[in-house]
Amino acid sequence: MAMAKLFKVLVVGGTALAALGPGCGESAHKGDKVSPGTGEDAELRVPDAATGTPDSGIVLEADAGEDADGGVSSWLHWF
């Protein structure tokens, strides 16, 4: 299999999206910025894991709590 091609399509293609698309905190609509200094804003919107209380109205709700990384099913183990 041409893994080099897969790298190009997935990794190079994906990272290019981040480089070419609107910056973080900008909406998909041209010139319709959410707010300046959005990196810090985003940090504030992350809820405290212990209390589950967000710092703003938007909730980044999920918290893994206990170790829980066995839940993603790939097509690899299908028997």
Partner: protein, 250 residues
């Protein structure tokens, strides 16, 4: 065309495979729906949020394709239960770090692996219906993998994600059945199954290793995430040690 003729056991196996996939894709619908909201809340790049939104519809379509394929092999798929799509990540991870871990595990690792597996399955498949199904799903999986790489790139640009290097082994362990590393005797290749797009365990293991070594690890490295711990986890000796340890615990 003789290779396309299936035994009853092979037909049951293929029905089970597609039913498993339908349930797996059903879970992915719920996972992407949750991730879409979390990515928006984290002010991820608009393109990333748009990809997540599209992925919800993609996965729903995949459920229908897989269920239809399962039915074609005589297997009925029950999807009445609520799909579990619990957040994943190490216990110590919080907020944006946990979100980044899940996106990397789900999109950069699992969806990249799915794309590689489907590419290979498509190369082997001869049955038109199987080829059509694989091709339709593969086109979407590319976008799902890219979502992960785009988000990781954006977070790395903000200086986040160094913690991923140390957590790579556990991320890999969760993405592959350890049984694939079992030093079992090579099985005879079932040409009928291959014609229906079903790959042998040996082939699947090879794809897993190649995808990690030639796609995922270089991708992480290119974004400044050290993949050494992941590469060490994948070494044949390490895999055999894990297998021996697992057996001794039984």
């Amino acid at each position: 065309m003789a290779a396309l003729v299936l035994s009853a056991a092979a037909r049951r196996a293929l029905g089970g495979v597609w039913a498993y996939r339908a349930r797996s894709e059903h879970e992915a619908v719920a996972r992407f729906a949750r991730l879409r909201g979390e990515l928006a809340a984290a002010l991820a790049p608009a393109e990333v949020v748009a990809l997540a939104e599209r992925a919800v519809d993609d996965e729903q379509r995949h459920v229908e394709i897989c269920a239809r394929m399962a039915a074609g092999y005589g297997e009925r798929v029950e999807l009445g239960h609520v799909a579990a799509a619990a957040p994943i990540g190490a216990a110590g991870l919080r907020g944006r770090d946990r979100l980044l871990y899940e996106v990397v595990a789900f999109c950069c690792v699992t969806e990249s692996l799915n794309a590689a597996l489907m590419t290979s399955a498509l190369a082997h498949a001869e049955v038109p219906a199987v080829r059509a199904a694989l091709r339709a799903i593969l086109a979407d999986e590319v976008g799902h993998s890219r979502l992960g790489w785009a988000y990781l790139a954006a977070e790395r640009a903000r200086g986040r994600g160094d913690f991923l290097a140390a957590l790579l082994p556990r991320m890999l362990a969760a993405s592959v059945a350890e049984e694939l590393f079992t030093p079992a005797a090579p099985r005879q290749v079932d040409h009928a199954l291959a014609a229906h797009g079903e790959l042998s365990e040996q082939v699947r293991l090879g794809i897993f290793v190649d995808t990690m070594r030639e796609v995922v690890f270089p991708g992480l490295t290119s974004l400044g995430v050290d993949a050494a711990a992941g590469a060490a986890w994948l070494e044949p000796g390490a895999a055999q040690e894990r297998w021996a340890a697992q057996r001794s615990r039984r």
